[in-house]
Amino acid sequence: MNFEFSEDQNMLREQAQNFLRAKSDSKAVRRILESDTPYDEVLWKGMVELGWTGVTIPEAYGGIGLGHLELCVIAEELGRTLAPTPFSSSVYLATEALLQFGSEEQKQAWLPKLAAGEVIGTVAVGEGTKAVTQSNMQVTAKDGKLSGSKLPVADGDVADFAVVIAKDSEKAASLYLVELTASGVSRETVKTLDPTRSHASVTFDGAPGELLGAAGQGWSQLEKIFDRAAILFAWEQVGGAEASLQMARDYAMGRYAFGRPIASFQAIKHKLADMYIAHTLARSNCYYGAWALSTDAPELPLAAATARVSATEAFHECSKENIQTHGGMGFTWEFDCHLFYRRSKLLSLNLGSLPRWKDMLVTRIEESNLNQASQ
């Protein structure tokens, strides 16, 4: 049995840590937090140069053709450092969508550019503050032209193209690849609770869209894309959870009250033990997710939902209790605690809410029980 990352993958992790420690430190993240700049271009360029945007893209399409385990390693480190870039939109979502459902022509047109960092992609799914459902969906497609709005769209203001889910009729939806610089597309940056990641409102007014994958299969294809991305998001969440735990621990060791480090009080020790437990459960579920993703296992939907729910809860727990451990200082703008707190909620909502994922998880447990029973 081998349920660990390989030596090469761990070397990649070390390289990623060194790079991100220098390029995505608190100062760099705060530059994005406190300005209108949508993302850190210097950091992004560095990530492209390291080949991270092409990790899962085959060499034939200009990538470096490593695997999803490598991408999981990178995701964890990006989560740990809150790297303010469009990596998740472009790599976990847009690139995966093309790899899964793109035609040969679409792959050739977009994958080399994605790998080279010449373009940024995203997916456009949000329906404002309403649930993402067929009946709530505002965007319609007719004869290859899209109309309607999506909000929020992660990196929608900087992306070159988006994979958009649009209604073909009352009952059917398809995925469309839409160039966001085309006429008929307007976009506007929107405020979100995490200003270190840029989001936009994207409006289509007869914008040209190219079918991605099979017509009428939008929902099932989107579910597949989201399942794969959920595992990578979960690794970012686990990275963020561990960073929050580490911050809380370091602060508690150095902060004295009543004549001793607060880390020596059981109230604090037990809180941190609970954070460690939540983080360890999530990490182990992420290992399984990584395995399922890298082998395209039939268990992938179940593994994805498990990792997603577990990591969402762990990051939220660790980021909120990190603030609590810091006391008043944790609630200041100056301390970084709130950056992790913000990011934890952002990541948990980016692919759909926790209650929705929990519901999906149970559906998949039911299905897997049925499969086992029928075997």
Binding site: S284, Y287, T306, D359, I365
Partner: protein, 407 residues
């Protein structure tokens, strides 16, 4: 990453299965034994242990000369995984073989090892562990049972508590205080004690659940020869750490209904005129417990993977008991909630009453082998490297440590 065995592991697993298939019944084909007497259980357990030992499947990680197999940690795990699929009685030996045996191997003289270990391995003699006392639970080192040297013997007086299986055990490892004039950790000494010796009295404890799995054990002028001492005089704490480290390996998950059983229940009972599983609040709870169950399972696999590759496992396993015991309590309670007013009934429970049984046994799991609170301390101190508690009794002679009014 992959989940397959190495060729050697696969061969070992094949041999284990062949033995088990030949001599045991898989759990899913086994008949349910209701109201089996303790005597019958012990008889069955001894027979199974003897058969295993004769065929090289007992005490796998013990040296061969003491009745073991000299197997690797990974082989021990594989055997454990395979044996767990069969309806075989291993409970009465869990403490003796899992904890006492390793301590005897580490600290007994050669003569004692040859005398005691093979009979422990073959199931002929069952062992118990005598550490906890009324005044020393989480604070085990606060124990008061005295051993006083007289010639070549020690005379023991005092009381132990929470001793599993004392009523049918032949021997035990006993932690005593031999010097009350030094701080508490320094005045302890460990012995092998004959549970049938004059002056040893075993009284069952009736638990909150109504069952009796544990005992009080009283010692009145019990005489132990000095050659039955484990480790040096005053080194008892060091010896007990070896035992307790093995306890943490031995005490795994709290057994009982898990998310899968809860799912099964929710598919059969109705809530608001539809199967409970369709209810969003029910699904929310199942999802949370499933994530804990899966997280524990994959944490275990990470530990096993490290062992399989010859490495040392990280501290991840320290979360197992705390998570599984609390999950068990939650699932038990929620299972009964789904039966509405009838949840209180004893004889009419669906699924063999396992939810009610889980809820009744869970408080014990949260205490046995380290309370939730002690385990959180351990995670904080050993894993997160946070400071230990301030110990007001640290440099004080044991005889001067305040003990409070109640024991």
């Amino acid at each position: 990453m992959d989940f397959s065995d190495t060729p050697q592991e696969a061969e070992f697993r094949k041999q284990a299965r062949a033995f088990l298939d030949a001599h045991a019944t898989p759990k899913n084909q086994a008949k349910i034994r209701k109201n089996e007497s303790e005597a019958d259980l012990i008889k069955r357990a001894k027979a199974w242990q003897k058969l295993k030992q004769e065929n090289g499947w007992a005490c796998l990680n013990w040296p061969k000369e003491y009745g073991g197999r000299g197997a690797s940690p990974m082989e021990l795990i594989i055997w454990g995984q395979e044996e767990a699929r069969y309806d075989v009685p291993t409970g009465p030996f869990a403490i003796g073989l899992g904890m006492c045996g390793r301590t005897v191997i580490a600290f007994a003289g050669e003569e004692q090892k040859k005398r005691y270990l093979p009979k422990m391995a073959s199931g002929e003699e069952i062992w118990c562990q005598l550490f906890s006392e009324p005044a020393g639970g989480s604070d085990v080192a606060n124990l008061r049972t005295r051993a006083v040297k007289e010639g070549d013997e020690w005379v023991v007086n005092g009381q132990k508590v929470w001793t599993s299986g004392a009523q049918f055990c032949h021997y035990g490892i006993l932690l005593t205080r031999t010097d009350p004039s030094v701080p508490k950790h320094k005045g302890l000494t460990m012995f092998i004690v004959d549970m049938k010796a004059p002056g040893v009295e075993v009284k069952p404890i009736k638990q909150a659940s109504g069952h009796s799995g544990f005992n009080e054990v009283y010692f009145s002028d019990v005489r132990i020869p000095d050659d039955h001492r484990l480790g040096e005089v005053g080194d008892g704490w060091k010896v007990s750490i070896v035992t307790l480290m093995n306890e943490r390996l031995a005490v795994g998950s709290a057994g009982g209904p898990d998310a899968g059983e809860l799912l099964e229940l929710t598919q059969t009972v109705d809530l608001d005129d539809e199967p409970a599983i369709r209810n969003k609040a029910v699904r929310d709870r199942i999802a949370a417990w499933y994530c804990e169950q899966a997280g524990l399972k994959f944490t275990k696999l990470r530990v096993q993977s490290a062992l399989s590759r010859g490495g040392t496992p990280g501290p991840e396993n320290s979360i197992t008991k705390i998570v599984s015991a609390n999950k068990l309590q939650g699932i038990g309670s929620f299972g009964m909630d789904l039966m509405d007013m009838g949840g209180i009934l004893v004889d009419e429970q669906p699924m063999d009453g396992q939810f009610q049984a889980a809820w009744m046994s869970a408080p014990g799991y949260r205490i046995a082998g380290g309370t939730d609170e002690i385990l959180r301390n351990i995670i904080a101190e050993r894993v997160l490297q946070m400071p230990g508690d301030i110990r007001v009794d640290k440099d004080v002679p044991f005889s001067e440590v305040p003990q409070g009014g109640k024991s």
